[in-house]
Symmetry: D2
Subunit: 363 residues, 4 copies
């Protein structure tokens, strides 16, 4: 259980790191959407390992096949099944993982919960699982873009203790993609990259913060009281491997302000109700208010490091683990398209839910 996400635009992902492949089934995709495998592939390529010197060198093309739901280049309203075959399967690299629980990985909890696990490359708990999310998110992003021009932009705002300054304007995709670390501030990006290379040389790892901004949203997305927009975004982000925190608008920092400093005054601007500040982060009462959506997700340092660590075996013996093999010293650059994908899935699903209740009937 737990491998489906969404209510009306509903995805179900499956697959392990070293099984036959990974994939996703999308149920509820609107019909008549023009769609090609290449469009989805472009997003997968942003997530793919081996893109640059600072991410894991696993070499896989991650070539996408659309198995169903498409006819003559357009969606048919029936389920889309998307498949990426695993090709770079080197189980021999992972022999030690069969025996020893890797600290701060999912080995121990999977083994104990299910009484069994696929240990090759982390099995289901591998970040490779996110391929399905990114593929589905690519479609959601396209639909949102076609529907009034919603634009979703995630980027790396912090790596270890190196943070970019808050930025007023909306970063362009080109700025984000300009550097290997996907931080739109070039100078900060350079320092981040240096830091990542430094910890990699130590066999160590670092985490960071991904920020996400969305513009072009209508007022009204979010279904109180439980399915508030920020609640579903929080769930989406905390469902990502290695994520440890989520904040929207002023977030934890907002605690330092008084109400008189924190409240966003309303004002009429160009015939629309606007706020003069945006500490709400684009949601009020769980519903989008038409301002820019703004949220941040914290990712811990990668659990896989190349230094010896204390751990136990599956037979309950104390031991030491010295990981070898592939090593991604910082997941942040590759987390960017994943954050965008999950945001798109939440927003599209809420768009459909909002429409169903509020736009379907004439009264």
């Amino acid at each position: 259980m737990g491998n489906s996400f969404g209510t009306l635009f509903r995805i179900t992902t499956w697959g392990e790191s070293h099984g036959a492949g990974v994939g996703v089934v999308i149920d509820g995709c609107p019909p008549n959407l023009p769609l090609t495998a290449a469009e989805i592939q472009a997003e997968l390529d942003r997530r793919r390992p081996g893109q640059s010197a600072i991410v894991t060198p696993r070499k896989e093309a991650d070539a996408l096949e659309i198995l169903s739901g498409l006819y003559e280049g357009r969606t048919t309203g029936t389920p889309l099944s998307l498949l990426v075959r695993n090709t770079d399967q080197r189980p021999s690299s992972y022999d030690e993982m069969v025996e020893k629980f890797r600290p701060s990985h999912a080995d121990y909890t999977y083994q104990t919960k299910y009484g069994r696990r696929d240990p090759r490359g982390g099995g289901r708990s591998s970040a490779r699982e996110t391929i399905g999310r990114v593929a589905a998110g690519a479609i959601a992003k396209k639909i949102l873009s076609l529907t009034g021009g919603v634009e979703i932009r995630a980027y790396v705002a912090q790596v270890h203790d190196i943070a970019m300054a808050a930025r007023a304007d909306f970063p362009s995709l080109a700025e984000v993609e300009a550097t290997a670390v996907r931080c739109p501030d070039a100078a900060t990006a350079e320092r981040m990259i240096a830091r990542i290379k430094e910890v990699r040389s130590q066999g160590d790892s670092v985490g960071g913060v991904v920020e996400c901004r969305v513009r072009g949203l209508p007022v009204g997305l979010g279904e109180p009281v439980f399915d508030r927009l920020e609640a579903d975004l929080a769930k989406a982000m905390l469902s990502l491997p290695a994520s440890k925190g989520f904040e929207v608008g002023s977030g934890f920092g907002g605690v330092q302000l008084k109400g008189s400093e924190h409240n966003d005054p309303f004002v009429m601007r160009e015939g629309r109700v606007r706020t003069t500040s945006n500490r709400s982060g684009g949601v009020q009462g769980g519903i989008s208010n038409g301002e820019e959506l703004f949220f941040r997700t914290a990712f811990k340092p990668t659990a896989t490091i190349l230094q010896p660590q204390q751990t136990v075996t599956i037979r309950g013996e104390n031991t030491e683990l010295a990981a070898r093999g592939r090593h991604d010293p910082c997941v942040l650059p590759r987390a960017v398209p994943i954050v965008e994908a999950m945001a798109a899935l939440v927003l599209l699903d809420h768009w459909m839910r909002h429409s169903a209740q509020n736009r379907t009937f004439p009264f």
Copy 2:
């Protein structure tokens, strides 16, 4: 849509601040649980306004009635319907709210989303809605307690810029309840209370952070990849009025550590696999690992303040609002039982889901 929470222990809440009442229907409650209205009432009394000098003076008994699902003092496995009538209905205090959108409240978004709203006391977006959550959570807490002694303890860890020091041992309920602000550190609590009184005298408000710790959990709760334990907790917390952030374990602070500093080493202790540190916060790979669960939720300063604020009317005219009436300068003390309730709902639901898949069959 959006007023149900949970999969197997599923609650549906309803009600507005100044309608006939508020309530909750619980579907999936295990049968044969001994239960009285008084037990639930005790938790409602912790949430109730008017408990102390630092919270809103709204005076309501919030008397609970159990309408169904109970027979001769035990649950029957059929839905429990719980009702609290509204009694302190003073719509006259709120006339201005009909006309003007209160900044950083839900007035504008509800009005725009639904084309209509009950403006009295915030209607559905009032924190009064959480009564149903607390009532259902009281039952979930009791079941968890009966099942192996799971203990959930939330408390106020920060108000404005006043934070208690990190604390190694598990705070007792008595310590939490000892002060009006529900901070288990008495000296810090005193300073928090002074700050709250100070901002109240200014007609202003403050926010803060609630920490929650859970001990006694088994290994195995959490359903990857989307319904990870921390993902559902994040959703639960971000579904609360005024919440702006969530973090589990090391959270946003963990970003400052390297992997070698952040990973939790495994070790055998008393025949069990344990970790020597707990930056994971009790979850690994989305599944509880048997260590103490630890998470934090940020709440913004109360949006209602008694200072004049710039806003617009429902007809789109710029205006000024000077709120009168009840005013809760800090929601944190009353948020404590609500956080506990939501945590209990998530944990019990996951306990049942885990059991269904992993404990039902003999292979």
Copy 3:
């Protein structure tokens, strides 16, 4: 579990026959719908016992209270909570039911499943539970009627072996309500009533068939492959107390035809695609085709009879039961508004689902 129905227009019912009351929470009702308690009451009155000489004499006003979701006479888009207090509680009539399992009732299965049950009047398994369905269905019916004039008409087509002749035209509500048995064919109705009186005088009971026809539906309702329109209707009907069968269009009788006799030819009529016959019953491939929807539901004879019956006690002793007290010799007349309500709930939910996927986006 199992007390909610619907995806987007979602109801959750609760309550036992002799508890404090019964009710329903409706989540997802579109906002701005004009609504009064009196409109809902009118449907409840059709379901109410004591309407005529041929149904159970239980005397309850079944007075409805709307607790939430309504403001100034219109729905607000937030949950509607509807409550009917139980008033005619005579537990003394049911002492024997505490001890002995009534044959073909739910006593034994509830007791065994849950280890406990409320035996008063059948508790949760009482047909009184359907009050919440009828109340919610009244709202769904109103919305469907406002949306293009969908009209739902159920009626009693058979009682015991007395069946009305197939009827080409759409029966009017007045015709259905003209007789106590709710059969629109007056002569057949008279014979049905005589049969019901006859079996009642014997302390016996009879069942029958309710037919339901719906006109004014658009093409497109139904979500293959599992949530086909007829699949959800079948579930809705088989979820009713005492129902034993469902058929759509030609149903079981269609088995006697060859394909060349059974297929419905397409033809253009007034610019629309129509069929010249309707053995499909208004659905093809699980989706409404714009023809009249037609389905039938079989109800068994009421399990409560006043003749002595062989049974066992809750302690596992063979015994005899001779029911006393209220006795409804035929549920069919009261099943008519319930069938209509469930049909309305299915159709409205599918209307909203169809719109969300197919009408929300401009491509």
Copy 4:
């Protein structure tokens, strides 16, 4: 939407008749179940076309691949993704179907609902879609069998007007499989086969009734009030292509009985509560009562016939259609494994739901 089925053992199917393939994702499968592709293949082979002279000659191996969720021969508790590639794709046979709506098929409703459809072989509405159901059902059947020996047996009870006599004992699998028509009464089977051959020679088709019996069920499966066991079975059966009716126990025939004739008396037998008759069909109050589960499903005559039929084109012109190509004169024999699969899915899901609420906690 609508392509998932089940709550805890949840399947999502995808695929079109002439796309790349068809498949299913199973979420919630218990871990540690021994499983091979061959076991599933055996059930697929029962469903496969081309098995005998009386079914469609489409020649496909329908070779199953398990893409995920299995490790070293046992399930891991993570999603199982099952894939069957389409191999016999002869789109040229279907050119006419692009232009003309086939009577009593889903062509017109799909085209109108979605504004587009894959016309090749019926696309998503093809019975080929049921491959995923049968594959998932094979796993559910195995689990049920391992868990206390639940046995599910479906068979063809009627073809056109040829019905087998009611049979007291439980038919063996060998008896069912002994004839091409899957009727366990050999003499009746012979007549059925003759009838099917006869209508085939006329280019016509026939329908029939599949009966299903389940023994070995515990008391307690079913979740009133909406998710009654028979309600979910009814939905499962009416979700099958070509099904038009469902009845449980006495069904429509039970209407002819009085309550005194219909009720099932309780009696103690071998220390257990039993009934002396089984007109309830194994369910009372929506919950299994430990007796044999018995239900029947009506299937209409195959819509594809080789006689000329009146219809319209996608451009709204009256025309005539004379189908050519493959033609399955009677779906009944191949419906047998599909009915069993759907029954298994419903029963296993309810087993897990029942356990979660009633077996998880010690009170």
